[in-house]
C-alpha cells in the first residue's frame, strides 16, 4: 500500500507517509471545497450562467439586500433558531443532569426517547409533526416550527452536555461540599461553570441545526412563516436569478466564520 524509497527507516505510522495517500488527501479536500469555491466565485459574475465569466459585479448582492422577502425569511429563521436553541438548551441541560446523576426506573425509557429524534429521518419526523398539528387543530406558523425544532434540539443538547458530564470529576463537587458549599452553592460555583463549555456547545449546535433545517420546517411551517432555507429551496426550484448564488455564498461564509470562531473558543477553553 505504500512505497518506501530505499534508505528511509521503517515508518512508525501504519501506512507510512505514502505519496498516494497525500495525493488522495489533497484530492479529497479539493472535492470538498471546489464546489463551494465555484459557487462563491460565480456569485460575483456578471453573467447569469455559471461557467461563463463576464466580469466582476456586486449586483446580485445588491439585489439580495434589496429583497424584502429574504430579509423577512432571515428574521424568521433567527427568531426560530434563537427561541428553539434557548428552550432546548435549558431543557436539554436539565434532562442531561437528571440522566447522568440519577438511577431510576424510567431511565432507559427517557434515554431511548432522547435518542429517537436523532435517529429518525427528517422526513419521518416532519410527517409525524404535520399530522399531529393538523389533527390537534393547531394552526401552522412560526410557533409550530419552534416546537418542532425544540423537539429535535433537546436531544442534541442533551447529547453534548451528557458527554461533558460523563467526564466530570465528581470529586470536584465533593471538594466543594467539603469546603462548606451547600448543594445549591456547589451547583452554581462548581458544577455549572465546569459544564458551561458543554452547554454553550450544545446551544451553538442547536442554533445551527435549527438555522439549517429544511425538511421538518417545510412541513410544519404555516403560510407566511417562511424561513431562510425555505426561501432558498423555492429559489433553487424556480431557478431564478443568481441572487441565489449570492445568498448561498453569504450563508457559506457566515457558517464558516461561525464554525471557526466556535472552534477557536472551544480550544481556548480546553485544559
Amino acid at each position: 500500500m505504500s512505497r518506501r524509497s530505499p534508505g528511509t527507516p521503517p515508518s512508525v505510522q501504519p501506512l507510512g507517509r505514502s505519496r498516494w495517500l497525500t495525493v488522495h488527501g489533497v484530492m479529497t479536500y479539493l472535492f470538498l471545497y471546489l464546489p463551494i469555491v465555484i459557487l462563491v466565485i460565480f456569485s460575483f459574475n456578471v453573467s447569469r450562467y455559471v461557467g461563463v465569466w463576464r466580469g466582476f459585479t456586486l449586483q446580485w448582492y445588491r439585489a439580495l439586500f434589496a429583497n424584502e422577502a429574504i430579509g423577512a425569511a432571515l428574521r424568521n429563521s433567527l427568531i426560530v433558531a434563537a427561541a428553539s436553541a434557548f428552550i432546548a438548551t435549558v431543557l436539554g441541560t436539565m434532562v442531561a443532569i437528571g440522566l447522568e446523576r440519577y438511577r431510576f426506573r424510567l431511565r432507559a425509557f427517557v434515554d431511548a426517547l432522547l435518542y429517537l429524534p436523532i435517529i429518525i429521518p427528517d422526513i419521518a419526523m416532519a410527517v409525524m409533526l404535520l399530522l399531529f398539528f393538523v389533527l390537534s387543530r393547531i394552526s401552522l406558523g412560526l410557533w409550530t416550527i419552534i416546537i418542532a425544532h425544540v423537539a429535535f434540539n433537546i436531544s442534541y443538547v442533551a447529547l453534548v452536555v451528557r458527554a461533558r458530564l460523563a467526564y466530570f470529576d465528581v470529586s470536584l463537587e465533593e471538594a466543594a461540599q467539603d469546603l462548606y458549599a451547600d448543594e445549591w452553592q456547589t451547583f452554581r460555583r462548581v458544577t455549572l461553570p465546569l459544564l458551561m463549555p458543554g452547554i454553550i456547545g450544545g446551544a451553538l449546535l442547536a442554533f445551527t441545526l435549527s438555522l439549517d433545517d429544511f425538511v421538518i420546517t417545510f412541513f410544519v411551517a404555516g403560510p407566511g412563516a417562511t424561513t431562510l432555507p425555505l426561501r432558498v429551496y423555492s429559489m433553487i426550484k424556480l431557478g431564478v436569478t443568481p441572487e441565489i448564488n449570492a445568498l448561498s455564498a453569504l450563508m457559506l461564509v457566515i457558517s464558516i466564520v461561525l464554525v471557526l470562531a466556535s472552534t477557536l473558543l472551544a480550544e481556548r477553553r480546553v485544559g
Binding site: 505510522q13 507510512g16 479529497t28 479536500y29 431543557l91 436539565m94 426517547l113 399531529f132 425538511v215
Partner: protein
C-alpha cells in the same frame, strides 16, 4: 451528589419532566398517531377514514414501491461504499500528518458539513446541470477544439465526437448525481470515526507485526484493519442511515427516475394527500432506520468488548 434521598425524587422530577413532557407530546404522541393512521384509509377529500385496514402495508409490496425501496437501498449502499473508499484512506492521511496539523485538517473536513445542506447541494447543481459548469466546458471548449481538430486533420471519427459534444452530458437527474451529492454530504461522518480508530491504533503493534515477518500488506490486513474495523462499522452506519431517509439530495439532483423513499413520502403528503399510505411508508422507513441503528449499537458494543 446524592446526599438526601428523600428530596432527590422531587429534584429528579424537576430536572427531567419538562423535556420528558415535550418529547412525549411533540414526539412520541405524533409517532403513535402516524402508526395509527397507517392503518386508516384515505378519505374522499384527502382526509382520513378510520376503517382499520392493512391495505397500506399491502400496497408497499406493489412492484412500483418495491423498486423504489430497492433503489433507495442500492443508492445508500453505493454511497456508503464510495464514502468508505474515500474516507478510510483519508483517516490515514490525517493521522499520518504532523500532530499540530491534524486538528486543523479535521476542522477543514467538517467546515463544509456545517454549511447549509441546501446550499451545498445547490453548488453541485450548478456544476452538474445541463447548462452547468461541466456541460458548458463539454459543449463549449471541448466541442470547438474537436471542430478545429476536424478541420486540420480530417479523420472519420470526428463526426461521432462532434455529435457527442454538441449535446450536454446527461449528469443531472441520474443516480450517479444523487450518489455524488450524498457522498459529498456525508463524507465527514465516515472519516471522523475511522480517524478516531486509526488515531487510537498503537503504532508499535504495526512494528511488532513487521518485526514478526509480516510485510506491509500483511501487517495491514492482519493488524491495522482488524483494529480499525470499529471505526469502519460506525462510519458506515452513520452514512447509510441518513441516506436511506434522504429527501433533499434526490429531490434537487435527481429526477423522476431517481425517486427514493423520502420523495415518495413527500409526494404522498404534499401532492397526493394520501396520509394513511404516506404514514405506512414513513413507518417502514423508521423501522429500517431503527434496525440499522440497533445493529450499530450491537456491533459497536461487540467491537468494544473485543478490543477491551
Amino acid at each position: 451528589m446524592a446526599f438526601h434521598l428523600r428530596r432527590d425524587t422531587a429534584r429528579l422530577l424537576a430536572l427531567i419532566s419538562p423535556s420528558l413532557t415535550w418529547l412525549v407530546v411533540f414526539f412520541l404522541l405524533p409517532l403513535l398517531i402516524v402508526f395509527a393512521i397507517s392503518f386508516g384509509q384515505r378519505g374522499p377529500y384527502g382526509g382520513i377514514r378510520w376503517d382499520l385496514t392493512l391495505a397500506n402495508y399491502a400496497r408497499l409490496l406493489d412492484p412500483l414501491y418495491l423498486r423504489i425501496f430497492a433503489r433507495t437501498l442500492a443508492i445508500s449502499l453505493a454511497t456508503t461504499g464510495i464514502s468508505l473508499l474515500i474516507g478510510y484512506p483519508m483517516a490515514f492521511f490525517i493521522a499520518t500528518r504532523p500532530r499540530r496539523w491534524r486538528n486543523g485538517l479535521l476542522i477543514l473536513l467538517t467546515i463544509p458539513f456545517w454549511t447549509n445542506f441546501l446550499v451545498r447541494t445547490y453548488a453541485w447543481l450548478l456544476i452538474l446541470r445541463d447548462n452547468g459548469l461541466i456541460n458548458l466546458f463539454w459543449t463549449g471548449a471541448v466541442h470547438t477544439t474537436i471542430q478545429q481538430l476536424a478541420a486540420w486533420f480530417p479523420l472519420p471519427w470526428w463526426d461521432e465526437l462532434l455529435r457527442a459534444t454538441a449535446e450536454p452530458l446527461r449528469l443531472f437527474g441520474t443516480d450517479g448525481a444523487v450518489i455524488l451529492g450524498l457522498v459529498y454530504g456525508w463524507l465527514p461522518d465516515m472519516v471522523l470515526p475511522c480517524y478516531a480508530a486509526v488515531e487510537r491504533l498503537d503504532p508499535r503493534l504495526v512494528e511488532a507485526a513487521q518485526d514478526l515477518y509480516a510485510n506491509r500488506v500483511r501487517a495491514f490486513w492482519r493488524v491495522v484493519f482488524p483494529l480499525t474495523r470499529s471505526g469502519i462499522i460506525v462510519g458506515s452506519i452513520l452514512v447509510f442511515v441518513p441516506c436511506v431517509g434522504a429527501y433533499v439530495t434526490p429531490d434537487l439532483l435527481g429526477g423522476a427516475r431517481t425517486m427514493m423513499i423520502g420523495n415518495v413520502i413527500y409526494s404522498q403528503f404534499m401532492m397526493v394527500r394520501d396520509y394513511p399510505f404516506g404514514s405506512a411508508l414513513s413507518f417502514v422507513l423508521m423501522a429500517l432506520m431503527l434496525m440499522g441503528t440497533m445493529i450499530y449499537f450491537r456491533l459497536g458494543a461487540e467491537e468494544e468488548r473485543r478490543l477491551a
